[in-house]
């Protein structure tokens, strides 16, 4: 079979599998897990656009996730907007705040940027916990489920298709961005900002642009999250979660969309598989972070590029 033919067949097979998953899975628990996977996938693909390409670690991605979630919830509850409107709007809200935050912070050196985003994330979480409008520490309840006409998406099985659809669109956009002039320039930032400026490229502008796109993804993920769980708690949008998303990116491969996808899936499903003892699992998780960042700088995808592993795959006749 020709390479391109084989790719097309593979794509079709994957597409079919994705579409019939809710029919194959019977348990609520697993379909909820898959939906959660999808949400983290969006967060991580978004994070890749700023952190994966330019190397600026955005530790506030989960704060923007929260901004999107609360924005969407409040737009629906207080203004009565349908989900189909509050979804893109919360993405835009997150993006606009992202641009505002990005403009001053992206001028800083990498470490200062990381600390700045940590501080911002913490302040945002503090606001979520203490403001009246966000429901305080108890969070936001009774967020309406999406509906079209009379059909209500109140089960995880139907909601799955909403998430799948959004993921499809956002991944295509991410792919287009990566293979455009912006993608190239962003990836070059890590190599030489000086050379980029000398080529007439306004590096600050494209950094802020990337940050805005990244927070847009976080906002969308937030909206999807809010209307799926119909209840959001400020504790979700924490520094710990921010580290988790960063780990998802790096375990896959920072700088690649497929890396982000793999990482988010692995790190959503793995913890569930290791559920036997929460405390021991968390200790292992801590060590896992050390191992991933230290010994797998190119993530699992990078591992497949390792010469020894390439030989192995070749021998299996898969290339």
């Amino acid at each position: 079979m020709l390479n391109s033919e084989r790719n097309r067949v593979l794509t079709i097979i994957i597409a079919v599998i994705l579409i019939i998953i809710p029919l194959l899975i019977k348990s609520n628990y697993y379909i909820r897990l898959i939906n959660l996977c999808g949400i983290y996938l969006l967060l991580t693909v978004g994070l890749n656009i700023i952190t994966g390409y330019t190397g600026n670690p955005n530790m506030a991605q989960t704060a923007f996730w929260g901004i999107g979630a609360y924005a969407s919830g409040l737009l629906s509850i207080k203004l009565g907007l349908p989900f189909w409107l509050s979804l893109p709007l919360s993405g835009l809200v997150a993006a606009m705040i992202g641009v505002l935050v990005g403009i001053p912070t992206l001028k800083l050196k990498v470490f200062h940027f990381a600390i700045g985003t940590i501080a911002f994330g913490q302040i945002i979480q503090l606001f979520f916990k203490n403001l009246e409008i966000t429901g305080g520490p108890a969070g936001l309840k009774s967020i309406p489920t999406p509906k079209i006409g009379n059909y209500v998406f109140d089960s995880d099985f139907s909601y799955y298709y909403i998430i799948l659809f959004v993921i499809f669109i956002l991944i295509s956009l991410a792919y287009r961005l990566e293979h455009s002039k912006y993608g190239r320039a962003l990836k070059a930032i890590k190599e030489s900002e000086l050379a980029l400026q000398m080529l007439g490229i306004n590096v600050s502008y494209i950094k802020v642009l990337a940050f805005g796109v990244s927070t847009f993804y976080a906002g969308i993920a937030g909206s999807l999250y809010a209307h799926l769980f119909t209840y959001i708690s400020p504790d979700t949008f924490s520094f710990f979660e921010a580290v988790k998303v960063l780990t998802m990116l790096y375990i896959g491969q920072a700088g690649s969309i497929s890396g982000a996808i793999i990482g988010s899936i692995v790190l959503t499903i793995l913890p569930e598989a290791l559920r036997f003892s929460k405390v021991y699992y968390m200790a292992i998780y801590g060590i896992g972070i050390v191992i991933i960042f230290a010994y797998l700088p190119n993530g699992l995808i990078g591992l497949t590029r390792h010469p020894k592993i390439r030989k192995y795959i070749k021998n299996l006749g898969l290339r």
Binding site: F111, G116, A119, I289
Partner: protein, 289 residues
């Protein structure tokens, strides 16, 4: 009332300063930020609970042992986490230290359980009374101890061979090793010293703060704020920054609001990063390219 707040603020400030000093020394030595430093301090607190309360070991001996243990822990940390990963970027190592922090917090949970452990004051219920102002004796003690640490440190760094070696390695590692200084040993000593500083901070913190598994995260973020104020590398900056933070928190909680007390540290970080990213004590370094 103001005097009370002043003393409390200074006291808390000294503790933040001590933890931040540990961070500054590590930064000057190996250019990394240790996100587990706060948990080291909490470890000292937990050890105090075990040694002093559970096993009834006399206070002074407990402190001594804990300082040694924390020094050892710091060096082990340096050998296991930092040394093998020297070629990886600093940010990556920093994230690794977050992993260590998570690991430690859960070890605390396993060993000491999840309940908050109260540590009784060594002063019993004795309180200092000045007129009608009530001051817990912990706070002045902290300030005195910190002063001693600073004096000792100044002497050590500027008047002893080992201290000068440490300063040489911080200034330029390659030149220092060319001059015959065993840089590896000096780096380990730096880590050990930062461990002792953190131990003292944790021990003094234990009676006046919540000792629970997640406290390390709170301390971490405050120490970060002080580190940013100190421009990462200023020793006096760490102490002064700590005091500024301590005073801001105490006065802020009292006059503004206590819920947003935590926001003070983060607010400070943001303001400094926006207007003086190289810290209050660094020279203004413009990020051009």
């Amino acid at each position: 009332m103001v005097i009370q707040l002043l003393v409390n603020g200074l006291g808390m400030g000294c503790i933040y300063g001590l933890v931040a000093l540990g961070l500054v020394f590590i930064w000057k030595g190996v250019r990394i930020v240790n996100f587990a430093q706060g948990d080291f301090a909490i470890l000292a607190g937990y050890l105090l609970a075990s040694f002093y309360i559970e096993w009834q070991i006399p206070y002074v001996i407990s402190i001594f042992i804990i300082c040694i243990i924390l020094a050892l822990v710091s060096v082990i940390f340096e050998r296991l986490v930092y040394r093998p990963l020297k070629n990886v970027s600093s940010v990556t190592i920093a994230v690794c230290t977050v992993g260590v922090s998570i690991f430690l917090q859960n070890i605390f949970q396993i060993i000491w359980g999840g309940m908050f452990i109260p540590i009784p004051s060594i002063f019993g219920s004795y309180l200092i009374m000045v007129g009608d102002i009530v001051i817990r004796p912990e706070y002045p003690l902290i300030i005195v101890v910190t002063l001693f640490v600073i004096i000792f440190q100044q002497y050590f760094l500027y008047n002893t061979v080992q201290g000068k070696a440490m300063r040489a390695v911080e200034a330029d590692r390659d030149v220092a090793s060319l001059m015959g200084i065993d840089t590896a040993k000096v780096v380990s000593t730096t880590f050990a010293y930062s461990g002792v500083l953190t131990a003292l901070a944790g021990i003094m913190l234990a009676p006046i703060f919540f000792l629970s598994t997640a406290s390390g995260s709170l301390i971490r973020l405050k120490a970060l704020a002080v580190l940013v104020m100190a421009g990462f590398a200023s020793v006096p900056g760490a102490v002064v920054g700590g005091i500024i933070l301590g005073l801001s928190e105490v006065f802020g909680a009292s006059y503004i609001s206590s819920e947003y007390k935590e926001a003070i540290s983060f607010g400070i970080i943001i303001i400094i990063l926006l207007f003086r990213p190289s810290g209050l004590f660094g020279s203004t370094v413009k990020k051009k390219v």
